[in-house]
Amino acid sequence: MSPENYLILSAILFSIGIFGVMVRRNALVAFMSIELMLNASNLALVTFSNMHAGNSGFVLDGQIFAFFVMVVAAAEVVVGLAIIVSIFRTRRSASVDDASLLKF
């Protein structure tokens, strides 16, 4: 299968993620959208790595980078979920629009 298809899939997933972040109020959904964007970029990285290897070599740069992204994402999820949970506990709401105190 042509690698372009993987890239198109990656672009679709990334756009869905962006769209989700921009329009959904629920913090958990926005968070999931961010994860979706990360995974879309992981897919693109692996695809590029595969394309780069071509016929001759054996390149795993993209795959390794994807692992790094996953590790950082996992760490970030821990922090992010903790913040969301503590906000929910104090305000009984997970809407990102309610948490808008940090402004002019």
Partner: protein, 646 residues
Amino acid sequence: MDLSHTIMFSYAWLLIAIPLAGATILLLLGSAAKKWGHWLGTAVALASFVYGACLFAEMFLAPAEQRATDVPVYTLIDVGTWHVTFGLLIDQLSVLFILLITGVGSLIHIYSIGYMAHDERRSRFFGYLNLFIAAMLLLVTADSYLLMFFGWEGVGLASYLLISFWQERPAAAAAGKKAFVMNRIGDLGVILAMSLLFTTVGSVQYSEVFAAANRIPVATATLIGFFLLLGACGKSAQVPLQAWLLDAMEGPTPVSALIHAATMVTAGVYVITRSGAIFDHAPAAATGVVIVGTVTMLAGAWIGTSKDDIKKALAGSTMSQIGYMMMAAGIGGPAYAYAIFHLLTHGFFKANMFLGAGSVMHGMDDDVNMRRMGGLAKFMRITTVTFAMGYLAIIGFPLFSGFFSKDHIIVAAFGYNPVIGICAMIGALITAYYMTRMMLLTFYGKRRWVEPQEANPNRLPVRHPHESPLTMTIPLIVLALFSIGAGLLMNHWIGQWLHPVTDPAHPHEVTFGEGLIEAFTNPLAWITLVLVAIGIGLGWLVFGRNRDIPLEAPRPNLAEQIGRNDLYGDAINNAAVVHPFLAGTEGVAKADEGIIDGVAVGSAGVIGGLSTQLKRAQTGYVRSYAVTMTAGVIVVGLVLILGQLA
């Protein structure tokens, strides 16, 4: 070969360090030194005098070519080819100054013990006096213009502190400030002269400057000469920077005697004499010195004729006498020695008369107005007699000290230019007139005051005049003796003594020896004597003959009117300098507020207004930030893609 290997000379810095240490101790301890401060102050002045006298004795006994001694003290800067060393130049000229400063200074310290006895801050006064002695010694012994300038500023500081010593009086505070500011103008001249010397000669060391003086272009040398003259005008109260000296009389009388008569105000004459090599090379600048001296000599005498304040009349006289010295210093050649000769004799007789005036004030409840005095001769015998010795010396009575020194200057002035010579003679006439006036108003004639127990039908001021204590009369007696004898003592000697300094190019030709004879054989001297007699006669006609002197000055004639207003020196300064400068500063202040501050405040306002609008973008909604960010990424991506395509 010089004397720098001898013990006395190698420790010559002690001369300055001793009074400086005295000043430091007295000023640091403050009121803790109240009980003994005046004794310490006097002791260090005397110690300095003894040290100076030993230096003089050693120099006197040494052969002439070994006398000038440069004592290195320490190296300030030693980088590559740039060496700045501090040293003391003790030669025939500076040693005379050392004796004058420490000798008259010690006498005035002793006098001040009595004069300032009732002052709360007497030990501080002595601290300032010691500071002055140290700075003045540094001024005259420095071996470079730079080090001399340290002393120059030091005496300016001491003068300021002492003029405004009674700082609670607004007039004294203002007078100190005035003296300080006017001296700054002169200091600017000295700084400019030093800068010019540094660029043309590459050094401000006396020895190097004078050795190279002939190689300085004449135009530059003239400029240097005029800058030095500006400095001398400021320090020595010469026209056009004369106005501060009369106000300086607000200070305690010993200060007027020491600083504003005997020593500090003569520093300008010292600098010009010391820089003789430069002035010899710049005749235009030397002519300038003569003209300034002549004008000041007449202006000071004019002021002296019309002041009723005894100290201000003496201050006018001081200006006038320094004018004589400047005249001689400008004429140059052998006249340098005459300038220094007159400087020394003037130091004695003018300090004597100022201290005598202080003694009169002491007995007359600090009144300075001569119209409320009169007939004091019976009540203050010692003061009267000593003052009379000063009087005879300053008018040039034969064989008194001023007779010799002033005669030399008048003869030299005639040799230089008949107009200047005639001015010098007229000055002698006016001097005799105003000094006779002062004598008659103060010590003779009818009493214009009453003693407390006497009937007082005319409402005269009540006074209880009495002779001053011994601490005040002994210095008067010593100074009176010098006023009588100093001229006779030095007349034959000083020209030869100073010759190696004033005319280093011809160390063996002495053109100064006929002094005593000249004073009696030269017709000019006889004419001067006649003029002096006329001056005395005029003074006696106007103020003598037991005439009634009104307590309030009568309506003055035009000449008196001008003299009483210091020849409108303050008005001229105000119109020419102060008001234009004040208007200028006001304009600059307005420009600062309007333009500079306007730009700053305006730009701050613009930024502030913009940020008030921009901060509305910070809504606090995460989703709107996400939109902004996405839009930004899209824009950046588009730019990159378009950049690739183009």
